[in-house]
């Protein structure tokens, strides 16, 4: 009798262990997918650094901060975090020992992550990531601004810790898209303007300003609403999904930080999730009803005749036309069109100026490993020339956008690293 009971308990224990192990494997795999969706590596893996070991420098108006080690290392990482500690940090912006996280960690968005997804993420970071014993780098923020207690007030004022709540009357696909865009995808971190407290002005489609375009580190992330001129009004759902998969579509190509988002995050999303995101984004009404550019061949005709009297035209012909063409149409799937490209037409020209000065490489993905690169022109064009050519392209071929000044160029040029000696 005693023998039989012992055998029963032993078998029972084995079954429980096996079930837990199998569940964890699936959970770790799901967590890896979600970590890519959330693009955790973008901040927590430094260039050339070990995965999730931290150390990436991020500029803020009050000084640079450095991302932390979130590998399961027990000394310098999150190895001793419980599930609840993890939730508090990711959703609530509070580290295990109670200090507030800088809002560079997009916990206001991550608050929307569901419990089941949070469990999967926790399992992945604890069991799917290699521990790295790398010490965390202190911030460059000077005292007293380095004190973190005011961040508690920031959190209380600007962060809402509710998980995603389904919206009545919308499809499951839309809900999935909304969940990803508002939550893990944290698109609003770049694409939503920020307020006086450097908070995102809106966290979902119910608030004015959500995904209407934002400027960060010299780049302007465009309007993602249906705005006809500077937003996604002329993009189809298919255009959006393809863009997130490969970094380009017939409308244009990713630039600035978005290339990293695609390379590290969105290229790995399933087609189902990409399409859901597209459905959600296409549902957002236009924030700006400025009409889409009308077709005009006045610019092309002038250039074909050799008329370069328009300011910036000669600079365009000498530097840009070889790839973007005199008709501004670029080359399909290779070099983006400039004619009627919404990315050029934002009120804020920071990205146009940055691309001219710094150049840019296309996102490198499994489907598109080439990484087509536009060279930098800061070495060759002065501030006035950059302003002129920016104005030329923003107002050529039917485009219409606010003027760019040499002073705006000068400000962005000042952020460039010193030019290497050639």
């Amino acid at each position: 009798m005693v023998k039989f009971s012992t055998l029963f308990f032993a078998l029972s224990g084995a079954l429980i262990s096996h079930a837990a192990s199998a569940a964890t494997d699936a959970s770790v795999k799901q967590g890896e997918y979600l970590a890519k969706a959330g693009d955790c590596a973008a901040c927590h893996t430094a260039a050339g650094g070990q995965p999730f070991a931290g150390g990436l420098k991020m500029s803020t108006p009050i000084g640079a901060i450095y991302s932390t080690n979130i590998t399961p290392d027990k000394t310098h990482g999150i190895g001793d975090y419980s599930y609840d500690d993890f939730v508090k940090a990711v959703r609530g912006g509070v580290a295990k020992e109670g200090s507030s996280l800088y809002p560079a960690m997009p916990y206001p968005s991550y608050a929307k992550i569901s419990d089941s997804d949070m469990h999967a993420l926790y399992d992945y970071f604890m069991q799917g990531v290699k521990p790295v014993s790398q010490e965390n780098h202190k911030s460059d923020i000077p005292w007293p601004l380095s004190m973190r207690w005011p961040l508690a007030f920031w959190r209380w004022t600007f962060a809402d810790d509710s998980t995603y709540a389904p919206v009545a009357g919308q499809s499951a696909q839309w809900q999935r898209g909304a969940y990803l865009v508002q939550g893990l995808g944290h698109c609003g971190s770049c694409h939503t303007p920020r307020g006086i407290g450097f908070q995102e002005k809106a966290m979902d489609q119910n608030s004015k300003g959500y995904l209407t375009g934002g400027t960060l580190e010299g780049w302007h992330a465009p309007d993602l609403t249906a705005s006809p001129a500077a937003g996604l009004g002329s993009w189809s759902e298919q255009d959006i999904a393809l863009f997130l998969k490969t970094g380009a579509n017939k409308q244009g190509a990713a630039f600035g930080s978005m290339t990293d988002v695609i390379a590290h995050s969105t290229q790995y999303l399933s087609d189902e999730d990409l399409n859901a995101i597209a459905v959600y984004l296409k549902s957002l009404p236009a924030a700006d009803n400025t009409a889409a550019p009308q077709a005009s061949d006045a610019t092309s005709q002038a250039l074909f005749k050799g008329d370069v009297s328009q300011p910036g035209a000669q600079v365009y012909v000498d530097n840009c036309a070889a790839c973007h063409r005199t008709d501004g149409k670029g080359y399909a799937s290779t070099f983006p069109a400039l004619a009627h490209n919404p990315a050029l037409l934002s009120e804020d020209p920071s990205s146009v100026i940055s691309v001219i000065l710094k150049g840019g490489q296309r996102a490198i993905t499994q489907q598109a490993p080439t990484g087509f690169t536009m060279p930098d022109f800061a070495w060759r064009l002065d501030d006035q020339q950059v302003a002129d050519v920016a104005n030329f392209i923003r107002n050529g071929w039917g485009n219409k956008a606010a003027p760019v000044t040499a002073d705006q160029v000068k400000k962005i040029r000042a952020t460039l690293p010193p030019a290497p000696q050639k």
């Binding site: 000498d318 530097n319 070889a322 790839c323 063409r325 080359y331 399909a332 799937s333 290779t334 070099f335 150049g359 490489q361 490198i364 499994q366 489907q367 598109a368 490993p369 080439t370 990484g371 087509f372 690169t373 060279p375 060759r380």
Partner: protein, 592 residues
Amino acid sequence: MAAVKKAPVDVVIVGFGWTGSLMAMELASSGLNIVALERGENRDTYPDFSYPRIADELTYGIRLKLFQNASKETVTVRHTTQETALPYRRFGSFLPGDGVGGAGTHWNGQLWRPLEADLKMRSTVIEKYGADFIPKDMTVQDYPFTYDEMEPYFDKFEKICGAAGQVGNLNGEKVEGGNPFESPRKNGYPTKPLETLYAGELFSKAAKQLGYHPFECPAANCTEAWTNPYNVQLGVCNYCGYCERFGCFNYSKGSPQSCVIPALKPFSNFELRTQAHVIRVNTDSSGKKATGVTYIDAQGNEVEQPADLVILSAFQLHNVRLLLLSKIGKPYDPQTGDGVVGRNYAYQMTGGIKLFYDNDNWFNPFAATGATSTVIDDFNAENFDHSKVGFVGGATISAAFSGGRPIQQMGIPKDAPRWGSGWKQAIKDNYLHNMNVGSSGSVMPYKQCYLDLDPTYRDIYGQPLLRMTFDWQQNELKMTNFIKDKAEEIVKVMNPKHYEVGFKTLNSHYDVRPYQSTHTTGGAVMGDDPRTSVVNKFLQSWDVPNVFVTGACCFPQNLAYNPTGIVCATALFAADAIRNRYLANPGPLVQA
């Protein structure tokens, strides 16, 4: 003994141009640990070929930035064994590349498949005209594979490059507009043919009037956006006129940078080391097994890289020299005909006619690619009857522009002043109003044309330079004079105001100074017999089975067409054999 010894790898690749990069790409997915050693610097489309910096004729066209430095290593040249060979110090007739991409970076993009007769030249000539038709000193031999056997690899390389062209023979069916002499293709070209230039229109009209069959040159210059078999994207050529001697800023000219390297970067089992100048292949005490290579690194240290498989993918001349320096295979002796390494060296034969027109003919030479050329193949290889012409081989004839650069491509009449206001006026009168009709001809191998090590001159590492013994032979001089007559016939129909003939005469000698074609071949030729070849059909050394040798050094003779198609197809063929046969059972792939 080397100062440094690296950890052993499965494969070491010497040279990282077309064949080195293709070998690496084809073998990387097998999981092998691969190291590629490139003597030059790293180069990539960005930043090295960025527009507008790359459009600098003085830097790239004249000072040859993408080419080898002749003060470090060069070849010595002589016409005959009676002469003392001297070092070639200012590159002219051929241009060895340097750096990642090698010659694949600076080429023009003309991409040809050989004709069936090109591959079986000896057999074809004997069958048609008898064995006596072949001069006694001519060492022409067949390639050791058939066209059909190689067709899938020609096709694959064209897809890798996104090659542009009009098919002329689709599965045996002739197609209008293409080359009617073309060997049967299973597929058309990946992208549409290059635009016909005005010069091409004039040439085409005249050629048709004479009963010839003009078509557009097949090119590794993409005419449509293309994604290749490695998932790499290529752009659309914009006819910038900076192909040859330049790297492509537009991602549209086929090169290792634009076609292969982006797909190779993710493989963690592949490592590229630059500024790694290989000086020898090491073998074990039996001399029948390679153990790796020794190279000089950027700091001047001698480094040994042990490997199970050594693939020589350097420029043709360098591969042959490495075999000689490493004592792999027996050096060729022109007196006895014994030995094989260095045998069958050849340099392509070319000629041209400059045509000058009045002001009502506008040629706009600046809008061109390296392969914008309208060609006739009617006098190439065995496409015509040789029974009464008295030579072996032939040539293509074409009207071509590769650009209108101000230093090298300013066509003015021979008698125009070379400086001052007269020179300026000549440019003004002729720059937009002249064109060329040129030829590219085959060159057969001869007992007296070969490569060996120089007894006197050495490189900066103290190793003997490669010596080239080469001069034009009567067969090729007869051929090019025959072609001159055909070209002139076409030119007369075109009726320019004035033309100037620039073909070699029966008394001409090889001159290293002017650029002619840059296509050098032979020295490590492929064949069926180890007594007349260095490597078998899979480019595997007969003497040291774990050494493979790629490139134009394996060509038994130099065909009229540009070599890149065969160079890369044979590399893909060899990679296939290594992956599917050699790895499972290392050893000779062909029994002699």
